[in-house]
């Protein structure tokens, strides 16, 4: 019997398999950031051991950094201390750090791919659940806790049970104005926020194949939001073209060897998945969430499902979510006023996302009452945006282009949405208080977010696109 892509990569990384024990799985690349690493470094100190393979570890500061005036010392004391601690730890343990002020600094899941560190066939981990992003390249990539960060520091390995595998196929052509973010929000709305738990998901089908690498990263990024351990997409020419020539990508003869290996990375025809789901791209419209978990999403023209239509045991939680959001059963979100628009996060802060937003807003202005924050995923994305003149387009539209970081996705720094305010956000989580205490988050694509910024309310971006005839993008 053939193997799935997950099995091929997993089996190639098993150091030891022993009955009754989880596998000892070798980790090729360990990404770290300031929030989930300090206690792991402390653990090494207590044990008196070094980082086993420091050259397979890369660090950046992203979760806790300000997105304005990054050249100045961090104002907030605890944040400054945590970021300083990362610098100190990286120095002590010999780890490369792309910290504040470095031209490679940025959100950990944005810089890995853009530097060519993320490659097909690798195992990659990070103390961050959105590590699944790197699966877009055909890598096994997943988030871990701090005790496991310490494990990888100490041994370059993790104890892991081999996951079950699920294939999700999306076939057909996407409508104009519908992109990667809508695909993944649609899938999660069907599976629920727990539907993928215990599985590694392989995304396949013509609609997935048609996506750019940026779009594929958006899809894999949110696989954790259906509970999956990770998500991945078999590498193809789109993948190889993206990786080729990047800073840490293999070069010359090494490239040829790597490519020959990468071309073997796909699920065999007769491979068996533990579960298979299929969706039709034609059924997907621009998506938006109305509740407090990412599974609570609807097509923009649909109404909020009624509480009575939920399983009885889940009605109190469902009601609690609608109350928090200030929404009613059967309400449409079209026309609902918006206070903030946040375009950023490891889900949608890449250059392609910024280009899509810029092409849409060019020559328009934001609605007067809406505050719009655009937070690029990295210094490189920021530099590219400036080179292309995208920053000018944003400025003219009244959008504020800030500096790179996780920002209002989790509101760990100063970038918080005020209590009670509605924010259309291109990030990945609409949990209660995620963007700030009592903030109300509606997740959507960059295009839908841009349309909300310009209109001052929730609108169907397809209608605006028809009006303005903007070129379709995959964002």
């Amino acid at each position: 019997m053939g193997k799935t892509l997950v099995e091929k990569i997993w089996d190639a990384h098993v150091v030891k398999r022993q009955e009754g024990f989880p596998d000892i799985l070798y980790i090729d690349t360990h990404l770290i950031h300031e929030v989930t690493s300090p206690q792991a470094f402390d653990g090494l100190r207590k044990r008196g051991i070094p980082v086993f393979r420091p050259n397979q570890t890369v660090a950046t500061a992203d979760h806790n950094v300000p997105t304005l005036n990054q050249h100045l010392p961090i104002q907030e004391e605890l944040s400054r201390y945590q970021v300083d601690m990362l610098t100190k730890n990286c120095k002590e343990f010999g780890i490369e750090l792309y910290g504040l002020g470095h031209p490679y600094q940025g959100i950990v899941h944005v810089i890995g791919p853009e530097l060519g560190i993320t490659q097909p066939g690798k195992t990659m981990v990070c103390g961050d659940s959105h590590t699944s992003t790197h699966g877009a390249f055909g890598a096994i990539a997943f988030g871990i806790g701090t005790s496991q960060v310490e494990q990888v520091f100490a041994t370059q390995c993790l104890l892991q049970q081999k996951p079950k595998t699920m294939k999700i196929e999306v076939n057909g052509e996407l409508a104009k104005g519908v992109g990667a973010k809508d695909i993944v929000l649609y899938i999660i709305s069907k599976t629920t926020a727990a539907g993928g738990t215990g599985y590694f998901v392989e995304f396949a089908g013509s609609a997935i194949r048609s996506l750019s690498m940026e779009g594929r990263m958006t899809v894999c990024n949110m696989s954790i939001e259906m509970g999956a351990r990770g998500g991945l997409i078999a590498p193809d020419q789109t993948t190889f073209d993206y990786v080729h020539g990047r800073e840490f990508a293999p070069k010359g003869e090494d490239w040829d060897k790597a490519l020959a290996y990468w071309e073997t990375l796909y699920s065999d025809e007769d491979a068996q998945f533990d579960a298979v789901l299929e969706f039709d791209a034609a059924d997907i419209q621009p998506m938006i969430t109305y509740g407090t978990n990412p599974g609570m999403g609807i097509g923009i023209s649909e109404v909020i499902p009624a509480t009575v239509d939920q399983p009885e045991s889940e009605r109190p939680s469902y009601r609690k979510a609608l109350d928090y959001m200030g929404f009613q059963d059967n309400e449409t979100l079209l026309g609902h006023p918006v206070d903030y628009v946040f375009i950023g996060s490891c889900t949608n802060s890449r250059i392609e996302d910024l280009r899509a937003v810029a092409s849409f807003v060019q020559g328009k202005k934001k609605a007067a009452h809406v505050e719009v924050w655009i937070v690029p995923g990295s210094k490189q994305v920021e530099a590219q945006a400036k080179e292309e003149g995208i920053d000018k387009i944003f400025e003219e539209a009244g959008f504020m282009l800030r500096e790179p970081g996780c920002s209002a996705c989790l509101g760990m720094n100063e970038d918080k949405i005020p209590a009670g305010k509605y924010c259309v956000s291109t990030s990945n989580r609409n949990f209660e208080g995620r963007q700030g205490p009592n903030a109300r988050t509606m997740l959507a694509s960059p295009l839908t977010a841009a349309a909300a910024a310009v209109s001052g309310k929730i609108v169907d971006v397809r209608e605006l696109l028809a009006e303005y005839d903007v070129v379709k993008d995959n964002a």
Binding site: V35, T36, S147, E150, T155, Q156, G227, A258
Partner: protein
């Protein structure tokens, strides 16, 4: 790591589904660089209002309910991988969390911190909630060796699953690093002999 064998305790019931780790410990409290003290901010925004006053309607502020076992609705611990969620639960004083379904990363984090996550069927979870609401002092007994959780008042018992390796870690207080470090020679051999090595 602390050892775990057996526990008899009353429970704190939290009959809410999809409790995410942002609720367990909001991001703004993740700035600490040690593992201690997170219990003060466990369920911070459900527990306290914006002025820092306890919200009377939240179960942890209700003196009727107390104990070392937290019982919650399905998909507990979803979302962010922050181990701070497990630290907060442990620091507050819970040794066991029971739900009908756990998110993967949280489950692993809990086990790495001597907090035992026990998955039970929906009907059994319902029985625990009903028993507790009828009598807040009702106790459960968790026996890790036998892998049982028992509602003492009714005698209802359920045999839960746990990976045998993780079970022995909890009973003996071992952690994963000790185990993997004992295989360092095999790790180095793996590195030397793998057919394709990666860059960076």
């Amino acid at each position: 790591m602390k050892k775990f064998e057996k526990l008899t305790s009353s429970v704190v019931p939290l009959p809410i589904e999809n409790v995410d780790t942002d609720q367990i410990i909001p991001a703004r409290f993740l700035k600490a660089t040690t593992r201690e003290g997170f219990g003060d901010n466990l369920f911070r925004d459900w527990r306290y209002d914006s002025d820092g006053q306890p919200k009377a309607d939240f179960v942890m502020n209700n003196p009727t309910y107390s104990g070392k076992i937290l019982v919650a609705g399905k998909n507990f611990g979803c979302g962010s991988s922050r181990e701070h969620a497990a630290w907060a639960i442990q620091d507050y004083g819970f040794d066991v969390v029971i739900s009908s379904f756990f998110a993967d990363i949280f489950k692993g984090n809990a086990l790495n911190n001597a907090v035992l996550p026990i998955t039970v069927p929906d009907e059994f979870l319902e029985k625990i909630f009903n028993t507790t609401f009828a009598n807040p002092d009702a106790e459960l007994t968790v026996n890790l060796e036998a892998q049982t959780v028992t509602i003492n008042a009714t005698g209802d018992s359920f045999i839960f699953e746990i990976n045998p390796y993780k079970k022995s870690c909890l009973i003996n207080g071992y952690d994963d690093i000790d185990y993997i470090l004992s295989h360092t020679a095999e790790i180095e051999e793996f590195e030397r002999t793998r057919p394709f090595s990666f860059y960076r």
